[in-house]
């Protein structure tokens, strides 16, 4: 049994324009000590999928169906008080923008210690000592001094490390990181990714990394799920995914990168993402797909196994080995 098992997850939002299906029938698993990347472009549902685990969904959410099991325990139906215990203790989150997630009027040390006092019931002294250890763990120099500083006194990279320290304060089983390095400079990003790797290696934390950046996926993830229009279109171990992308959308994303230019031109993906308001029974990518044939418009391709651990939802997958 995997640490985390998501099956047939569907999430709907009620919006002014109608019912939006943000996530459609997603199933995935996460093992202890594994780093799983959820990737795809804006609006593909990668954040909503991950945030369904701690049930941190926007207020307009009208339906959350399917199952999310952590260590065999169903989370979707858990009463809110019990869910509060799960959040922060078993499942915690690191957001993209560390400045808006930290409280500007409390010191860094106070904010870390508060989590420990609430969830772990530590005394003030014990929480303070543990907070220093956590700052050390995430690679913050002179942690004793940093404890007494306020968020605005820290750089973006240091703030993100503080956020990670808070997120791992109670040794969560699952850490969800939502574009954790997107707001950071590349020279700072490398260090923050090292912190995640280190947490996994030393504490065995399982990490769901939400990112649009295939470079980050290639750097740190063990496995990746590529999402398009609310569904998983491909899922594979990272080396396999990059070596033999099966779904034309995955391949399109890789070829659209500036580093993949051929003769001074980039491969474009023509057209636009379909409206999230409707969900016709066809492949959602067919209108933009170079491989599309008649059958792609007649029914939706299921996510099927093409190689051990390599799944793709395509009637005409490439990269056969």
């Amino acid at each position: 049994m995997s640490l985390l098992e998501i099956s047939d997850l569907t999430v709907d939002f009620d919006t002014e324009d109608g019912l939006v299906q943000a996530v459609r029938d997603i199933s995935l698993t996460l093992d202890e000590g594994e780093i799983l990347a959820l990737c795809g472009e804006s609006g593909c549902g990668k954040s909503v999928t991950a945030m369904s685990v701690p049930r941190l969904l926007p207020p307009g959410t009208t339906r959350l169906s399917g199952s999310v099991k952590l260590d065999g325990r169903e989370l979707t139906t858990l009463p809110e008080p019990a869910m509060r215990q799960v959040r922060g203790k078993d499942v915690s989150v690191v957001f993209q923008e560390p400045m808006t997630s930290l409280n500007p009027s409390f010191t860094v040390g106070y904010q870390i210690a508060e989590v420990l006092r609430r969830h772990e019931r530590l005394s003030r002294q014990a929480a303070g000592r543990r907070a220093v250890e956590l700052l050390e763990l995430v690679g913050i120099p002179a942690p004793q001094r940093r404890m007494k500083e306020y968020p605005h006194q820290l750089s973006g990279g240091m703030r993100q490390r503080v956020m990670i320290a808070i997120a791992v304060a109670c040794s969560p089983r699952v850490l969800i990181a939502d574009e954790p390095t997107t707001a950071l400079d590349v020279t700072i990003q490398a260090g923050v990714l090292d912190v995640f790797r280190d947490l996994r290696d030393r504490l065995g934390t399982a990490i769901i990394l939400i990112t649009h950046d295939l470079g980050v996926v290639a750097d740190i993830a063990d496995r990746a799920v590529v999402m398009y229009a609310g569904r998983a279109v491909e899922q594979a171990p990272v080396t396999e995914l990059f070596a033999r992308p099966r779904h034309p959308y995955t391949l399109g994303l890789m070829n659209a990168l500036p580093s993949a230019a051929v003769n001074g031109r980039l491969a474009e993906i023509p057209g636009m993402v379909p409206s999230p308001l409707s969900d016709p029974d066809e492949c959602a990518f067919q209108a933009r797909c170079p491989r599309a044939q008649a059958d792609c418009r007649l029914s939706r391709p299921p996510l099927e196994r093409h190689a051990p651990e390599h799944l793709a939802a395509c009637f005409h997958p490439g990269g056969k080995s």
Partner: protein, 322 residues
Amino acid sequence: MILRIDNLVKHYGPVRAVDGLSLEIGQGEVLGLVGESGSGKSTVGKCVLRLTEPTSGGIELDGRDITHLSRRAMRPLRRDVHMVFQDPYSSLNPRFTIGQIVGEPLLRHKVADRRTVSERVSAMLEKVGLRQEMRSRFPHELSGGQRQRVGLARALILEPRLVVADEPVSALDVSVQASVLNLITDLQRDMGFSCLFITHDLSVVEFLADRVAVMYLGKIVESGPTAEIFAEPRHPYTQALLSAAPVADPVQQRERRRIVLGGDVPSPIDPPAGCRFHTRCPLAYDACRTEEPPLHDPRGGGHPAACHLVTADRVPDAAANR
């Protein structure tokens, strides 16, 4: 030379955003100005457009000194320099239609009457790949990629000599980014404008710039032809920057030598003495802490670097000293 910047300084109060920067852009040339947040790269762009007043130094546009021109004297020159912004939404007036937005520069500069405006707007929309029916739409009805096409159409309708583009594709998804980058390449080739392309993204620069200048704390630390900068980066900071940007290939990425820089970027209020990079440089020695290295080119090739360790027969290797 279309643009010549000589020893530009821009201080915002105590913040030394740009602190002595010189660069040139030739006719039809694309210069990629690269740097991380706080390096001062956007301030350079704003000074060129005179959206902010330089503290000192000189800016010449097409041989004419524009550093201290009055607003009024600057006005006719605004036909020749245009800007494309990062966020195509906040830079387009939400109450104007796309047709009005794109045609507005023609009317403001009185270079066309109503009827020819309409024709030129049509032609421009076609050039940037927008359908004619977009004319009557409003910015909020467009996708991010379409908005950035409108931003390009507006910037290019007067056929400027120089375009300053500040992170024009950074807010776009990769598939949309690809089509906008192809478009910029095509337009640049067809129309022949020069371009100051400001970005933090090295892969974008490698794709479309002819030359690259790398900034760190208000100064250029290295510049040269794009292929050379990427093949043989000379400054330890450039080396670190290139090594830190992950490549989308797990096998390669996991075997690469990475240069992890210690510490944070120092404050531009009080930049370090000597070489500004010495506080994070793995190769720094005594001279780096006291003497500021000049941007020199002892190895030739139009590829200067501001590092004491670059000599006629040696390029420093920031990855070696571990």
